[in-house]
């Protein structure tokens, strides 16, 4: 299975890649890890005439702690994040990186590529939406910083102009007393999840001071479950509050029926995942070390 023929351009810097995009026009696409793009090209769902390869650009893969934030180079591979002690300081980031597909895909796939592709089933957007995340977009004339909530516009659609690329992803460290967790339900490792839930909260004793809940694979983009958050904010997390949050999360989901499950099934599933993620996030907020993995069918 071959992709359609294309012209290959190897960028030696991000600036050069941007210049290539401007020059080559709309038929050019960027190649980062290629773990989504190459399969899409083989299936002929994507047929770019030009590919601009970013993999030979030096200095694009890093994890830096700076001014209360973690900065990820756009081509930082999922596996590097999975194995990074720095990234593990925000446990939900480790949950995400370690659970993406399988080791082979994690060795290639990149955080910047995942956000720029904006696949409705991608993992990073769901998780990063629960944190304060900014995406640095490098263009021909300037670099602009876009909050993640403004960056993802729709399924496979972002705020990037044609001649812009993601150069860095900046994640603010959550305040003290925070805990987060990301749990996905998958039919097997290499496939996208059927549904997923990311929860990041701040506890003050047994009261939830603040919380962000995002749902994955149950809409055209990651969905913020605002009513579910409201059910917990300022409350003691009792069974009743948990049930209310689950119910609100189910209502916020807008899933499509497909080979991974029916609409009703996914709604029920995402509610259960939200509950589990809240429970783990709460324990982590109280300082407990909790290992959490995705759930396989």
């Amino acid at each position: 299975m071959y992709p359609r023929a294309f012209h290959y351009h190897r960028a030696s810097s991000l600036k050069e890649a941007v210049a290539m995009l401007s020059q080559l026009g709309d038929d050019a696409k960027l190649l980062a890890g290629g773990q989504s793009l190459i399969p899409l090209m083989k299936l002929r769902f994507a047929n770019p005439q030009h590919l601009v390869d970013l993999n030979f650009v030096p200095g694009t893969s890093y994890i830096k702690e700076e001014g209360g934030a973690l900065r990820f180079g756009a081509l930082t591979r999922h596996a590097e994040i999975e194995n990074s002690a720095t990234a593990a300081k925000i446990p939900i980031l480790h949950d995400c990186a370690a659970g993406i597909a399988d080791v082979q895909v994690r060795n290639r796939g990149t955080i910047g590529g995942s956000l720029a592709e904006a696949d409705p089933s991608g993992d990073w957007a769901v998780v990063l939406m629960t944190l304060s995340t900014e995406v640095c977009c490098l263009g021909a004339k300037k670099t602009r910083t876009v909050p993640l909530s403004d960056f993802i516009k729709d399924a496979y659609t972002t705020a990037l102009a044609h001649d812009e690329l993601v150069s860095e992803v900046v994640v603010k460290a959550p305040p003290k007393g925070s805990g987060g967790a990301y749990i996905a339900f998958k039919r097997s490792a290499p496939v996208y999840p059927t549904a997923s839930a990311a929860v990041q909260l701040i506890m003050d004793g047994d009261v939830c001071k603040d919380v962000v809940i995002a749902l994955g694979c149950v809409g055209l983009t990651a969905i913020k479950a605002k009513d579910a958050e409201a059910a917990l904010r300022g409350q003691r997390i009792t069974d009743k509050a948990l049930s209310a949050a689950m119910e609100a999360a189910r209502a916020a989901a807008d899933p499509q029926s497909d080979m991974r499950g029916s609409t009703d099934y996914k709604r029920a599933l995402v509610g259960a995942l939200v509950k589990r993620a809240i429970e783990v996030a709460m324990r982590r907020a109280h300082g407990e070390q909790v290992e959490v993995g995705h759930i396989y069918a």
Partner: protein, 165 residues
Amino acid sequence: MKKNVTIKVNGADRRAAVEPRLLLVHFLREVAGLTGTHVGCETSLCGACTVLLDGRAVKSCTVLAVQADGRKVTTVEGLADGDKLHPIQEGFWEEHGLQCGFCTPGMIMCSHDLLEHHPNPSDSEIRAGINGNLCRCTGYQHIVAAVRNASKKMSKRATARAGAR
């Protein structure tokens, strides 16, 4: 337009002018003549085509040959030292870690990545480490036993080497 690439495959430089759309797996099988790497699903799901790219497991059906230019690739043919099998190959031999054998090269290369980075994995770590590789015969029990066997051999040899110093 073809592009010249040089890929170090199992220690030897392979030079060729390739179409940019040539996948690494086809470069290995058709240009380098190394058919140990198998083509399975072709959609990045089954792991049969797993090779090491600069020491890390990748699915060679989801990497372009031009992306491997100037880099090192190890295939299943590159593991044995002459007639002496690699401990992972011995493990698969001794524990009968295969039935039809189609998934085996990918399983072995993925296990290589696992054991290089986690020398003494538990059974659940082995299962998680090879969860991107599918065995249609469903012979997973023996495959896990094979990787466990290999990990014991490899750590015994590492200890022996350390003791000899």
